[in-house]
């Protein structure tokens, strides 16, 4: 069988970023780049398929299993395809004290999915996460790098409508 090169490859820009990340660590410690590089990979592909993880292993000159071990341990890495917007809402105590359970219930109803689900149009995935270090501004969820805080049902409606456009 011939190899099919570049089926999975970082964009030239991201490859530069990855090289810059690897250069941060002492000689021979390039495995330290694993978590940050997986974030870059997820930014490009949305989730981490085994092809992507094998590719990252090749770049860092480590065994694929070392990448799988890490990708499965940390909650931020998606191991299955996700929707366009991944909504990660905080289910932990302080956010619940601020009415989180009601707001998240409303969110689920609005999208018609439960935690872990993706809407039929592929626009939204819901993910339940633990405390996001924003407890004073709860209830809170995160979509990519952005925090949405002091959520109410009305705010949720607005955010979903804006993102649905």
């Amino acid at each position: 069988m011939t190899e099919s090169p570049n089926l999975v490859a970082f964009t030239p820009e991201r490859l530069e970023t990855v090289k810059e990340i690897i250069a941060r660590y002492p000689e021979g410690r390039q495995k330290s780049a694993l978590l940050p590089v997986l974030h870059v990979a997820q930014e490009q592909w949305g989730w981490l398929s085994s092809e992507v993880m094998d590719y990252v292993a090749g770049i860092l000159k480590i065994e694929p299993v070392e990448v799988y071990e890490v990708a499965t341990f940390y909650t931020m890495y998606h191991l299955d395809p996700v929707g366009k917007h991944v909504i990660e809402y905080c289910r932990t105590g302080p956010c619940c004290l601020m009415g989180g359970e009601d707001v998240y219930g409303h969110l689920k109803q609005k999208l018609g999915i439960e935690a872990g689900g993706t809407t039929a149009d592929g626009k939204f995935t819901l993910k339940e996460v633990e405390c996001l270090a924003a407890c004073g501004w709860g209830p809170v969820f995160q979509i990519r790098e952005q925090f949405y805080m002091n959520l109410t049902n009305e705010k949720v409606d607005q955010i979903i409508e804006d993102l649905s456009k």
Partner: protein, 446 residues
Amino acid sequence: MARKILTEHINVPGIETFDVYRKQGGYTAVEKAIKTMTPEEVVEEAKKSGVRGRGGAGFPMGMKWGFLAKPEGVPRYLVCNADESEPGTFKDHHLMKCIPHLLIEGMIISSFALGANKSFIYVRGELMYVIRILEKAIAEAKAQGFLGKNILGSGYDLELVVQPGGGAYICGEETALLESLEGKRGNPRNKPPFPAVKGLYQSPTVVNNVESISNMPWIINNGGDAYATIGIGRSTGTKLISASGHIQKPGVYEIELGVSVDEFLNSDEYCGGVRKGHYLKALVAGGSSVPILPANLITKTAAGEDRLMTYESLSDGGFATGTMLGSGGFIVFDETACIVRNTWNFSRFYHHESCGQCSPCREGTGWMEKVLHRIEHGHGSMHDIDLLVDISKKIEGNTICPLGDAAAWPVASAIRHFRDEFVWHITHPQEATQPGAVYMGEMVLG
């Protein structure tokens, strides 16, 4: 108004930029330390200040620095713990976001003191936007000659690396953090060896919290002795408190250690009291891991004295009637909060976050969550209460890292102080499982 060490300039417009931070006196402490002091003298000031680790354990920072091994020809590392994942705690997030140069300045001074030429700031991956803020600040400081090669012409070199985590509370534990920084799963290491001897890449390493390190610029500018005059006894300096839950004004507040819990909770300078029309039921004073206190033990100790926001006063009475300052995550519960539900919620957190290495923690947290779930959902039996106490005792002290204790304490303390509420859930399953139902009977002192 109380003295501010960390947040004095936090509301100055543009303080996140180098220029504005510099105009407010920023980086003068780096100049002073690097140009006029030896590393040993900087360590000495940290020791004199008495500043204790703000990540939760409260270990004196200067003393920790004194333990760092210094074998010839081996690099040493400083790693800043910005994993901040303890439920109820969001102070480091706030500080790094608003005034990133304070941490950068603290990192330069601390790295110089320890003889580290490459230092890391490990930030929880969810705070990617904060990572970008820090990286921008680092680039600015570098362009001004405060980082990189030959800082201020002194011959001292330092690179700062900001490392994102991947989403795992356990990586806040310092040895799990080091594993993670090496690109591995966050499994805590057996100790000894301690990081001071074998840490990152098997080299001597110091791990300190964001807030701990951010005190260093003030300590260098004003002296460790001046810092030690603030606070009470062995609780020196100021502390950032993350206030959440049923209060008028949630947010991050800098207090002088020694202010009373009553003042912190009720004055307009801080929380502004329990939210209008409601009354105080319980408090978690130091993040989800510390014991919960019932209303009658919050502002007064069991002996009837004013309880103060200090390491000592909050733990007065031991676990029978006290708690801990911990990471300063101040979570307030009014009478509408269900203690059983919250305890279940926290136990689900610890079960989810257990790394699974030790069986008492892995199995025990799962079991506690299951039992609490069934009590909360109206299927508990009286035997379950003793079972929970029993499981918590079997976890406590029998694990590699303190996450086991952190999982056991909230459950044990909730039962100690709110046993009646658990009993009510078991004896009145129909009422207890109505939406929003809360036990209103007499609270019982343990």
